[in-house]
């Protein structure tokens, strides 16, 4: 599992190994509503969602897309090494969508006594729509 990356192994421009998730389902949106306590009906009630202007009914919680962006980082460096996840929600995710996440290294630096790596991260659907765009910061151990 994870924890394979070392600070020396990554360079500016290095790609983060991308991940692909199973298609989003309506049951998953109910599960996410319950697990996160976000009961906005936009995510679970088609009629409400259409009235709110979503032509195809419910859309996924933005935070569900962000969770995938975060998993990109935890799969890459291990859950213990993620310091920051920051995203802008750029488009909705709908049931049936297959979400993939990817990113690349922007900058390597030292902070708080750690080797840190700042990355550009994004999620998108199989239609090519970018659903989140942002920045992640991870700490990586050195080889020494």
């Amino acid at each position: 599992m994870a924890k394979t990356a070392h600070f020396e192994d990554v360079a500016e421009g290095s790609e983060i190994p991308p991940i692909e998730k199973s298609p989003i389902t309506k049951v998953q949106l109910l599960q996410y509503a319950g697990a996160s306590h976000d009961y906005n009906l936009l995510h679970t009630d088609d009629e409400f969602a259409r009235k709110a202007g979503m032509p195809n009914g419910v859309i996924a919680h933005g935070m569900l897309a962000m969770a995938v962006a975060a998993q990109l980082l935890t799969d890459w460096v291990g859950a213990t090494n993620v310091r920051k996840v920051s995203v802008r929600f750029t488009a909705p995710t709908e049931p049936g969508d297959v979400v993939t996440a990817g990113g690349k290294v922007i900058k390597k630096y030292q902070e708080a006594g750690e080797n840190r790596v700042e990355c550009e991260i994004w999620t998108r659907t199989q239609k090519g729509t970018v659903t989140t765009k942002g920045v992640g910061v991870v700490a990586l151990p050195g080889r020494g």
Binding site: M1, A35, H37, D38, A67, Q71, A79, K84, S86, R88
Partner: protein, 147 residues
């Protein structure tokens, strides 16, 4: 009800949340995480954790009556809301068993011209602290009220 611009500076009362294994397990399942560290303590230990860790966006689950009070104070209309941006920072992951004291504050409210009219951006900052007062995580959320 319209957005109350004078809600800037509003702060919630502190609430206490205990991070527990069952909540982490169901959260991980909902986000489609299959990594066993989120439900199997032995797997978590093999990865160096003293207990089950929480995924980085887990602090989003810390919603409570104080959060509801903040939203009422701001005057959101749920039919017109979208989540604009979200950020979480943490010096290390939260673990099952952690007790976190949480407080949120309305940091900023401003308008931005959108395609269909003015959009109101509401920025809320949340800080979670450990019993010794150190920061467990900070969150910054921008919620957009569409016209």
């Amino acid at each position: 009800m319209a957005i109350q611009f004078d809600a800037v500076g509003f702060e919630t009362n502190e609430t206490i949340h205990e991070v527990d294994r069952v909540s982490i397990k169901w959260f991980a399942r909902a986000i489609g995480e299959t990594n066993p560290i989120y439900h199997d303590r032995e797997a978590a230990k093999r990865e160096g954790f003293s207990d089950i860790p929480a995924p980085p966006t887990f602090p989003t689950t810390f919603r409570d009556e104080e959060d509801a009070r903040l939203r009422d104070r701001v005057g959101f209309d749920f039919r017109k809301l979208v989540h604009g941006q979200q950020e979480f920072e943490m010096p290390r992951p939260l673990l099952a068993g952690d007790v976190i004291r949480i407080r949120s504050r309305v940091a900023e409210i401003y308008t931005k011209e959108g395609k269909t009219g003015p959009m109101i951006m509401v920025v809320t900052e949340t800080t979670g602290r450990r019993p010794d007062g150190s920061v467990a995580f900070t969150g910054r959320s921008t919620v957009v009220q569409r016209p």
